[in-house]
């Protein structure tokens, strides 16, 4: 009975009790493609970025201006049909400088570190958006700092049409 050793601490085992090596099956590199449909709001938002404009949606009930825009105000559960332009300057509300490398789920390669991930509250918006900042020293990053969007030279209708945010000195 109890061949599996259900009560033993087997954490350090490398072989079965009979002496067979404990095996791992390597999957090899798995890759498959997805096609995410961005719908009305995000398509319009990304088209706005291409024109160097931040387009947000506004709730007619609570007045919240959502950046990132979306169709329904979560608090009010009400459809929003008013668009307002916010930014391109804003306030740094939180940040981290990522120094550990991990696999980028976009393509399976390693993330380039360090990178600075920020939450920026664009002027006129009630919520924040995430993006990059080109400052990698925590001593120079102060919550409350003013930031400005830096546009990519080639814009394709992607979140990377904003290259990053920079601190306004």
């Amino acid at each position: 009975m109890n061949i599996m050793g259900l009560y033993e601490d087997k954490r350090k085992r490398t072989h079965t009790p009979e002496g067979y090596e404990l095996l791992t099956l390597e999957s090899g590199h798995l890759e498959y493609d997805f096609h995410w449909h961005l719908g009305y709001c995000w398509s319009k938002f990304l088209a706005g970025l291409k024109e160097q404009r931040f387009l947000a949606t506004k709730c007619s009930q609570c007045g919240a201006v959502y950046m990132l825009p979306r169709q329904v105000c979560g608090r009010c559960f009400l459809e929003m049909d008013e668009w307002v332009e916010v930014g391109p300057e804003g306030t740094l509300e939180g940040f981290t400088i990522v120094r550990f490398p991990y696999i980028d789920p976009n393509h399976g390669g390693m993330m380039q570190v360090p990178f600075t991930s920020i939450w920026v509250n664009l002027d006129g918006a009630s919520t924040r958006m995430m993006h990059y900042c080109n400052e990698y020293d925590e001593k120079n990053l102060v919550v409350g700092s003013r930031l400005r969007a830096v546009w990519a030279e080639e814009r394709t209708g992607s979140i990377h049409d904003v290259s990053h945010f920079e601190i306004i000195k």
Binding site: G74, V98, Y102, S117, M129, I159
Partner: protein, 384 residues
């Protein structure tokens, strides 16, 4: 209000960075067998089961199919639940709901994960919007690091406050034979450990573990008959928040604040710091062990660093938190929340071994998931 329900058995595996000795289904069998033995039951006594994990960590879907043997679920009703980090506590909540509904008498809840089988950060990053947020989101660590940057700015909390929490949980794990990471560390060690993502350092952050946990819930009549000292469920509450990371309030934790307020109301708790004897909290990073204390109503917003510095949450303090070593010592993600529930239950049942807190009458367990939602479960030695 549903039927009254008690926890009558808990089982967990010996957790590790890599459990090469056992497949996913074998670690599930380990936890289930140990829980059945803890409750002195056989699989025939189980009316239904709930199981959960995060599929994208193992890239094997349908655990409710392939783990049936190890789960003991042949010809029984099985429900799979997966809610990110809270999977374990939600599995527990569903076990409770099953019994409380009056439709099932004895229900087995199982959470498990084989985190070593893939890259955890890449898998977690798939929780965020691929077009708008994923590139800027650094797995589990990014938002936790960012929220603490905001909390430090708002209230003058420090990296050292977090290090005190890290040292507490890690040293507590020395008393837990199941814990994955068991190492004696000082506050200084934590502060000197490599920076992962400012301000979170290596020893501040949870590991990724292989492991499983199983908890058996029973309705009042059965629980009384089957168990000398059940851990009664006094409240189980879940709260979710907005979709996008930037939508959330980050200087406190709204879902934890709302879920715990509702749970305290249901359980008749008015002064949580005094009334709880122990807490097993899902703190994925030591920084949460500072910031989130505000949101559990232990103190006013911004006061948590003072309590942490005073030793309030140490084993000999007013409210010991994480005698097991917590999440930063053991983190098989789909099981992590259920381990909180199981450890809290063992504290009530007096079965927590070297990590037992004396005379526990009321215990608090929490779960954290995504960004940011919260599960809260309150257990008691007395019937609710």
């Amino acid at each position: 209000m549903g039927k009254r329900v008690g926890i009558i058995g808990v089982g967990q595996t010996h957790h590790a960075a890599k459990r090469l000795d056992a497949s996913g289904v074998e670690i599930i069998a380990e936890a289930v067998t140990r829980a059945l033995d803890d409750a002195a039951l056989t699989i025939a006594d189980i009316d239904a089961m709930v199981i959960g994990n995060m599929d994208h960590f193992e890239n094997i879907n349908y655990v409710d199919m392939w783990a049936v043997d190890g789960l003991g679920a042949c010809m029984k009703p099985v429900f799979k639940v997966t809610t990110g980090g809270t999977t374990g506590t939600t599995v527990g909540a569903c076990g409770y709901y099953h019994c409380a509904s009056g439709l099932f008498d004895v229900v087995l809840a199982v959470g498990w994960e084989k985190n070593s089988e893939s890259d955890t950060q890449a898998a977690i990053a798939t929780c965020s919007n691929p077009a708008l947020e994923r590139d800027f989101f650094a797995g589990a660590i990014g938002p936790l690091a960012t929220e603490y940057s905001m909390y430090m700015k708002a209230y003058g909390a420090t990296e050292e406050d977090a290090a005190i929490v890290a040292a507490r949980d890690r040293n507590n794990a020395l008393n837990n034979p199941y814990a994955h990471s068991r190492q004696q560390v000082t506050v200084e060690d934590v502060l000197k450990s490599p920076m992962l993502s400012y301000p979170i350092k290596f020893l501040d952050m949870c590991p990724r573990s292989d492991g499983a946990c199983a908890v058996i819930f029973a309705v009042e009549e059965k629980a009384k008959r089957l168990c000398a000292k059940p851990a009664w469920v006094h409240a189980s509450v879940v709260r979710h928040d907005y979709t996008h990371f930037g939508d959330l309030e980050w200087t406190f934790m709204p879902t934890l604040e709302r879920a715990s307020a509702e749970a305290y109301k249901l359980a008749g708790i008015t002064n949580p710091l005094k009334e709880f004897d122990v807490a097993e909290l899902y703190l994925p990073a030591s920084t949460c062990g500072v910031k989130w204390m505000d949101s559990l109503w232990f103190c006013e917003h911004g006061e948590a660093p003072k309590l942490v510095r005073k030793g309030t949450f140490q084993m000999d303090g007013e409210l010991p938190i994480n005698p097991s070593g917590g999440v930063i010592s053991t983190n098989p993600i789909g099981a992590t929340g259920l381990i909180r529930v199981g450890e809290a239950a063992w504290q009530i049942m007096g079965r927590a071994g070297a990590r037992q807190v004396e005379n526990v009458r009321k215990a608090l367990a929490t779960g954290f998931g995504g960004c940011s939602w919260s599960d809260v479960m309150i257990l008691g030695a007395d019937l609710p």
